[in-house]
Symmetry: C2
Subunit: 326 residues, 2 copies
Amino acid sequence: MQAQLIALDWGTTSLRAYMLGSHGQVLEQRALSYGIMQLPTPPRPISGALADNGFELAFDEACGDWLRAQPTLPVIACGMVGSAQGWVQAPYCPTPARVADLGAAMVRVRTRSGVTLHVVPGIVQNSALPNVMRGEETQVLGLLQGLPADTRNEPLLVGLPGSHSKWVRVVEGCIQQFDTFMTGELFAAVSAHTILGRTQELGGPFDGVAFDRGVHTALSTEGDIGPLSTLFSARTLGLTGQLPGSAQADYLSGLLIGHELRSLGEVLRARMKSSRLPDVVLIGNDQLCERYRRALQACDFPCVDVAAQATERGLWSLALAAGLTQ
Amino acid sequence: MQAQLIALDWGTTSLRAYMLGSHGQVLEQRALSYGIMQLPTPPRPISGALADNGFELAFDEACGDWLRAQPTLPVIACGMVGSAQGWVQAPYCPTPARVADLGAAMVRVRTRSGVTLHVVPGIVQNSALPNVMRGEETQVLGLLQGLPADTRNEPLLVGLPGSHSKWVRVVEGCIQQFDTFMTGELFAAVSAHTILGRTQELGGPFDGVAFDRGVHTALSTEGDIGPLSTLFSARTLGLTGQLPGSAQADYLSGLLIGHELRSLGEVLRARMKSSRLPDVVLIGNDQLCERYRRALQACDFPCVDVAAQATERGLWSLALAAGLTQ
């Protein structure tokens, strides 16, 4: 089948390339480790001249052959490739942002082989403590496109767990407000570079009991003192023989995610002046979404769904809206 | 003047040795980097035989010459040297613990040169989330010894900021309860190993305005969402031109300390069923105590004092109580 679009999800640590067909379906896909912070370096010839720009090299590896076979294919990209450290800076659009309109704010970069790459802008929320996202806006749009038409305009809370979890309030296709939690990156830094990591025994299967225990600790009276203090319990429960080394990483993961969701729930209730928490849809990798799904249930968030293929769908929608394809 | 006691403050990353005179005054002192996690390794002769035990080597460097000059001097040590990773394990005493009585629970280790080292036990609080300390109990005792006799029995909150801050409730010379916050170690891990460190420009003088801004952010409505989220503002304020790289480390420091003290205040008020926070005395290095003093004032903690020479005084008192010296 003839391809219609090349769509790139180009983040800090990975680059995913999709070849999409006439209805946006995925014909072929590739995952490379060439995120913008780990681009390839050895120079090699591209279009007859030696190239040493890491973005050019990564781009050519991701989809150079697809473009040589179909040179007129349009190409779109979202994620950190549009940041100040990226290939071209695509300035942030402010909230409230109608995600379907982001296609109009795309920034173009011309590759040395003559291809135009269309880069989706990120979103900034200019609150007292500002918030930014890049890539997640495209996933939110893809999620909305995947919903039944009659529910697409209902208010929604979209959770995008990861190094920096995003919680995005969407009303009638518009990103109204969002929050960021550095939970994932913090878990990694704490496990690798503090005393808590020394007694963690890694490599076993997911320990759901330890994870749930961490979540419930964060939600309990003991959790009132906050994560800066409860963190230490991963060590003291170990020291006192109440938490084996093999359970400590999942306990810590549950503890941090529990604190994230506890705070999120409290802030949402205050903002919405309602005790009922909103329905949540998650976007992310299966294992991480499963952790969040367990923790969200423990925190009384209703109706947790997990969305698939959000990035590809979002990029397809933006390309359609921008007239790159039909 | 004749020495009466050798006192060692032997922690994870440092070893301080004091030669104390007949009233506990410091006659001589040394600071070595031989904490229990970074002991010396090259074997060398001690008392006529080749020694390769890192504890022996560090001990000999710290006070071997003092002991050769006065072989009958008693020796006492507090800190992580008594932990499971230390030279000898001095089991934790449970709270409530009368600090002056800890001398009775000291554990002895005999060095290869025939000296007996008396190691002070740590303290464990067997609460739902257990808490432990090692070394701080000795500092608390030293602080009590330094107070005027008529105030020594008044309830007190002792703050010991550091990698793991301790907040110790002392009533009539007894450690009743304490909390730990991993603020210092977390600040170091976040600065060195997350995205927040990438834009920090270090090396300038202390930026009090940035620090206070971090504290006030933690205490504000924006701080309600907790440190896992507000952390990200060190990046986004930078990205939006509102916080220069040179201010980001002190902002982050203020933010984390602010969250620590906000949580501590809330928990203390709930525990004590009183809106008035207790008087605080701080023990620690001058620069860190100055940061905490600023932040405690912003958090409405009254009457903040800073105690000096707490470790030496505490070790002297314990040696007296144990009959090691007179």
